[in-house]
Symmetry: C2
Subunit: 268 residues, 2 copies
């Protein structure tokens, strides 16, 4: 475990009531973070403001580019992601969500550094795909659309020559390059243009007849709209939001005597 | 000034770099908070993740209904809003934004309790309307669509009999009742239905031929989409996002020697 934070007293988090809020490490990127929070609010399906999931979102986006760092063998972003996650834990959060797929290449290190749960977006997405496919899961032909690092490191076990045949390799490479451009467009606010291009990208991906197309970058989830409802599309941000809601419901059902023993705002 | 927070040491906010982040009091409601953060990200128009505005959003929605409290003469939500705003200040935030119009009925008390700036959404919206109208500002015929409390307390100096004539009073009352239902729909996640109804509501408001229609509740801003671009529509959330970006640009241009003297994570 990397000790990134000076050990100081944290203020009382009593204002957060008797349930620990969700901690969200934001800023990777900022638009995608906002869209994740929107999905979280929309999927909560509660009647009143007061019943929504409490959260603290720390969005300090000054983290080195994850994909670039990994491509040059650098761990530079990890330290900053850990700082933010640990800050949220010390602020009293009961679980951490990171709405960035590429950051999950360090999921093991992040889990080791935290005393509270990391709601691991990649792990639960893989599980959701497996659950939906049953015994056929291991024969799944999937195409992941994401950053170079998440593709090259097989974050969601992307396409390979065996799955789609050698003749597809160049076309899949083109798809990957188009995806990277599209992600950059979303990050720089060219959202309308990017939405149209995502539709084209998904059409191109469908020409390979995959079983699943995984939106393996939260910038794509942020602009996918109704596409996420299609049977062949896997949207990890949607799955993360569901898991956060499940976590919160389970927390809310914890017996009061367990809650009374919690040390608010202190590391457990 | 109400002293709501126990005075304890706050952890170092050095991880936030050398600029104090924006503090966002969220949860009023959660969907509207997410949409504000989306507007903030979209309007920032920067090329890279790293250049977006850093923020901490504390969204603990367990705040009593603002409109109801005001209608019964209660200040109950104020204490909780102050707790959250002061928590953000102690966490190292350099300014506070509250993407909720009704909460601004307590803007004076909130400003008194904070050492850092409240970016006052109502004040800047009024100013923006005045600026856009020039010498005609005082003759402005506006219709505000918002909560009962913000309407009855003239948050944005809503319609009165003098503006629209006595015969309009009942129709304007109906508009107000429809607005309240629509706000409740957004809060409970019926977003698609609410979007259609907002279009109808704005059409109905336009039949009175007002100069401006003010979306005086952040739930309406959250679903207004392209409507906000129309000349007669005033969207305070858009104006708040612009003001936060202006604040951040000004902060970023502060001379380094001034920044070096800042006491991070401590009350100034």
């Amino acid at each position: 475990m990397i000790d990134v934070m000076p050990r100081r007293n944290f203020p009382s988090s009593e204002l957060l009531g008797h349930r620990k809020p969700l901690g969200v490490v934001g800023g990777m990127g900022s638009f995608a973070t906002a869209k994740f929070l929107e999905v979280l609010a929309r999927k909560s399906r509660v009647e009143r403001d007061q019943d929504h999931i409490p959260f603290i979102c720390l969005s300090d986006p000054n983290i080195p580019d994850r994909s670039h760092a990994i491509s040059i063998g650098s761990n530079a972003p990890l330290r900053q992601i850990l700082e933010r996650a640990c800050w949220l834990e010390k602020a009293g959060c009961g679980a951490i969500a990171i709405p960035c797929n590429t950051a999950h290449l360090w999921a093991t290190e992040i889990k080791q550094a935290l005393s509270v749960k990391l709601i691991d977006m990649v792990e639960i997405t893989r599980q959701a795909i497996e659950d939906s496919r049953g015994s056929e899961a291991h024969n799944l032909r999937s195409i992941s659309l994401g950053t170079i690092a998440s593709m090259q490191n097989g974050l969601y076990a992307g396409p390979n020559e065996n799955d789609f045949g050698k003749e597809c390799f160049c076309s899949l490479n083109k798809l990957q390059l188009d995806t990277i451009k599209l992600i950059a467009d979303v990050k720089s606010g060219k959202v309308t243009e990017a939405r149209d291009n995502l539709t084209k990208l998904v059409q191109a991906a469908r020409s390979f007849d995959p079983d699943k197309i995984i939106l393996a970058c939260s910038e794509l989830s942020a602009i996918c709209g109704d596409l996420a409802d299609d049977n062949d599309i896997v949207d990890p941000i949607n799955i993360l939001a569901d898991a956060c809601i499940d976590w919160w419901i389970a927390e809310s059902q914890s017996p009061p005597d367990m809650l009374a023993n919690r040390s608010w705002g202190q590391k457990r």
